[in-house]
């Protein structure tokens, strides 16, 4: 029997429309003269710009430096002149700080190795690897965009297994699938590098069974990479969730509020493994990625190699343009992606997909009474009670929400997907979770302050 995670889960329609289409190099159309590069493309503090208006920049040059421990460097994906550094509309419709570059030619930094060959020997030490990954601005490329070097900074002996996420359990998306097929060996070298960085001898690449070609290909090549195991998994959403994937691959459950390292695991995405390969072996910063442009109303669902900062609109144009009946455009997959308020925005390091939906698909069903069918409880991968959490959130009963572990919710949307009454369960739970986590943080801060005050009061007596 194929492995999978142990609690809940759903089986949404796959709709992998672009699975058979090879990744195409995307070239910025002539008529696009300038691009915008956001300085906050990751979880954590925004990066601080290190260039000024009027500066000339090359491809790969540092534009903005990590603004804290949890932050990431931003490099220029294009060559040209810095035109503006100011806040403009981001993909959620809110203002976001961006560096505008007037594109001129395609001049790369000479330090970047642009040769075609695969470089197999890993010469850097573990510390050097982690440092290099930080320098090159690598973040989790599955969509969460957590700075990669932070996850890799583990104490010696703390990590026991590296887990690589090749699940791509979101419907429609095929970016990781294509990457595994087309950059198989580079990914395995990237995995080897990550294993060296955290000092483990075993890595598990979890891939769902709907990508048999990728499983076969990677298994074949992995035969010459001892310690790397390709782990086929039974299809089930949300298998790509960090905790779910660890459970599926090595059968360990990360406790509530704990990090994967508490069970000896470090998780990275296949896309991240490829970016790590390029960073460490080729000295190439994270300036481009695979973006899957897909959706039923779209003429030519495609997978593109696109530079960070490429306008979403341009990518959609290249895949056939926005059709007449298009109603909703999503950054990411249909389960956890975010709907764009405008498509005049750039792609970022976590843009795994751009999904177009027609009017019919994007309409939510009419909400009916909760019939207490318990299906939301059955599908919740965290073992929570979404019907209860949504109700207490709607009534602002934050204590009850906290007691019932609302903070454990991973916002996968399985509950809303399943509800026969079309209740917007996750909308309420997300609201309640944000509120409760704010309360928990405030309480922790107050407790810390009180402890410090008590200590300070005691000090003179001693």
């Amino acid at each position: 029997m194929l492995k999978t995670f142990s609690i809940g889960g759903i089986h949404p329609e796959e709709n992998k429309l672009s699975a058979g289409n090879a990744i195409k190099e995307f070239h910025l159309p002539e008529d696009i003269k300038e691009v915008k590069i956001p300085v906050a493309q990751h979880i954590g503090a925004p990066a601080q710009p290190v260039v000024a208006v009027g500066d000339d920049v090359k491809v790969g040059q540092l534009l903005a430096q990590a603004g804290g421990f949890v932050s990431a460097n931003i490099h220029s994906p294009f060559s040209g002149k810095v035109k503006k550094i100011e806040a403009t509309t981001g993909d959620d419709g809110k203002p976001a700080m961006m560096i505008t570059i007037a594109v001129e030619g395609d001049e790369w930094l000479e330090t970047i190795d642009r040769s075609a060959g695969i470089k197999r020997d890993i010469t850097l030490s573990a510390e050097e690897i982690v440092k290099k990954i930080g320098e090159m601005g690598i973040v989790g490329m599955g969509g969460a965009r957590f700075p990669a070097q932070v996850k890799l900074a583990v104490k010696p002996g703390q990590a026991q297994a590296l887990i690589i996420n090749g699940v791509e359990c979101e419907p429609y998306l095929t970016a990781d699938h294509r990457l595994m097929l087309e950059k198989s060996e580079e990914i395995l070298i990237g995995v080897k590098i990550l294993m060296k960085a955290i000092g483990v001898s075993d890595a598990y690449i979890g891939i769902e069974n709907n990508k048999k070609d990728a499983i076969d290909l990677l298994s074949k090549i992995a035969a010459s990479y001892p310690g790397i195991h390709v782990q086929p998994l039974k299809m089930k959403y949300p298998q790509g969730g960090e905790k779910q994937l660890i459970d599926a691959c090595i059968g360990r459950q990360v406790a509530s509020g704990a990090l994967p390292i508490s069970v000896g695991a470090v998780v990275q995405n296949v896309g991240t493994a490829y970016a790590v390969y390029e960073a460490v072996q080729k000295n190439k910063p994270l300036i481009e990625r695979v973006v899957c442009v897909t959706g039923k109303p779209l003429q030519n669902p495609s997978n593109f190699w696109a530079r960070i900062g490429t306008p979403v609109k341009a990518l959609i144009e290249a895949a056939g343009g926005v059709p007449e009946d298009c109603e909703k455009i999503i950054g990411g997959g249909p389960m956890m992606g975010r709907a764009f308020a405008t498509i005049d925005v750039p792609i970022h390091k976590g843009s795994s997909g751009i999904l177009l939906m027609n009017k019919k698909e994007s309409k939510r069903g009419e909400i009916a009474n909760c019939i207490r069918c318990a299906k939301c409880v059955s599908v919740c991968p965290m073992g929570l009670e979404p019907f209860l959490l949504s109700k207490v959130s709607a009534k602002s009963l934050w204590d009850m929400a906290e007691e019932n572990h609302i903070a454990d919710c991973i916002e996968c949307g399985s509950c809303s997907f399943t509800c026969p009454s079309n209740r917007p369960l996750l909308d309420y739970v997300r609201l309640g979770k944000a509120k409760v986590m704010g309360i928990m943080r405030a309480r922790a801060a107050a407790a810390k302050a009180a402890a410090e005050a008590a200590k300070a009061a005691e000090a003179p007596k001693a």
């Binding site: 609690i7 759903i10 949404p12 329609e13 419907p171 905790k243 459970d247 360990r252 459950q253 990360v254 406790a255 509530s256 704990a258 926005v322 298009c326 109603e327 909703k328 455009i329 999503i330 249909p334 389960m335 956890m336 992606g337 975010r338 709907a339 764009f340 308020a341 405008t342 498509i343 999904l355 698909e361 994007s362 939510r364 069903g365 009916a368 009474n369 019939i371 207490r372 069918c373 318990a374 299906k375 409880v377 059955s378 919740c380 965290m382 073992g383 929570l384 009670e385 019907f387 209860l388 572990h405 949307g413 809303s416 997907f417 399943t418 026969p420 009454s421 996750l426 909308d427 997300r430």
Partner: protein, 326 residues
């Protein structure tokens, strides 16, 4: 395209609906309905139709004229209540009594609490129990299946068992106790929908396969009955009927698959569902074996319905990471 729709995720829905589940139950009950019409004739059909029409109509009228809210009768829940209420009545029951039952089921059992999803007890069972205590003679006048004589009535297998055991007759000597084959096919006396075990099992499997229900409630009820019945049977097979007889007779299968599994009135976690199922199995067997009534399924479900909020408080689903696996 001028404006984009912006909404939070998830952006897709699994197409499950209240209608799909409710009409799933109706479809699952069709074989048992066919068996009923086969054995009891059109009298069964008129009770069923009267019950469904009254339940739907009563819900509609209450929503339109008393509550003044948009009507939701098309979701199928009132029709399911009507169908299940009818399945718990004897074929040939005067139709005005059926209407009274529907009024209690929908009016008191469901709408006074706020309609679908809000009620504490299963409306159909509430209606049935109300009729049983209000019209005991009519409610226990069981037509003889496939009878040549119009209006002939007989006993249910459980009724026969109760009377005989009370008078001290050993089970092997009870005259007219139906065979396992009769219980399976349905040529026995009883409420119009409960007679054919085989049809109910087919319907139950349909509900499980289409994921309208999960196995937890029916399996825990039937397993409890099998264990409890098996123990007593092992002690004295002449005083206590076999577990198979208990499972196939009376409202056991109808209750386990179609009534106890009512979403609204059953627990929300799998562990809770098992506690609830074991409770129903135990109470039913206690009533059947030691109580005054020959059958106790309806009472058992009603009692456990009332306990459900308590079960929901104590039986929480197993959380991820709560028990760290080795």
């Amino acid at each position: 395209m001028n404006t984009l729709t912006v909404a939070p995720s998830p952006h897709v829905h699994g197409d499950d609906s209240v209608k799909r589940n409710m009409y799933g139950v109706v479809i699952a009950l069709l074989p048992a309905l066919a068996a009923s019409v086969w054995f009891f004739g059109l009298g069964a059909l008129s009770v069923v139709l009267t019950s469904i029409v009254s339940c739907v109509l009563i819900e509609f009228l209450i929503q339109k004229f008393i509550l003044k809210v948009p009507t939701t009768v098309t979701d199928g829940s009132a029709a399911v209540t009507g169908l299940i209420l009818a399945f718990n009545l004897p074929a040939g029951l005067p139709l005005w009594i059926v209407v009274v039952g529907a009024l209690v089921a929908i009016g008191i059992g469901k709408m006074t609490f706020g309609g679908l999803g809000q009620n504490i007890a299963n409306p159909a069972i509430l209606g049935r129990v109300f009729l049983l205590v209000s019209f005991p003679a009519q409610m226990t006048s069981w037509p003889v299946p496939s009878s040549e004589v119009d209006g002939a009535t007989g006993a249910t297998p459980l009724g026969l068992l109760k009377e005989s055991v009370k008078s001290g007759t050993p089970i092997s000597e009870i005259a007219g106790l139906p065979s396992t084959q009769d219980l399976l096919l349905g040529s026995i006396g009883g409420s119009l929908g409960e007679i054919s075990a085989i049809c109910l099992i087919i319907g139950g499997i349909f509900l499980l396969c289409t994921k309208v229900i999960t196995w937890h409630i029916p399996v825990s009820i039937l397993a409890t009955v099998a264990v409890f019945g098996g123990l007593l049977y092992g002690v004295d097979p002449e005083t206590y009927a076999s577990p198979l007889f208990h499972i196939l007779s009376g409202g056991m299968l109808l209750g386990a698959f179609f009534m106890a599994t009512d979403y609204v009135t059953s627990p929300m976690s799998h562990s809770g569902m098992i506690v609830y199922g074991v409770g129903i199995g135990l109470i039913t067997m206690l009533i059947r074996t030691f109580g005054a009534y020959p059958e106790g399924m309806s009472f058992a479900i009603l009692i456990m319905n009332i306990v459900t909020p308590l079960i929901n408080t104590y039986c929480k689903p197993k959380r991820f990471g709560e028990v760290v696996k080795k």
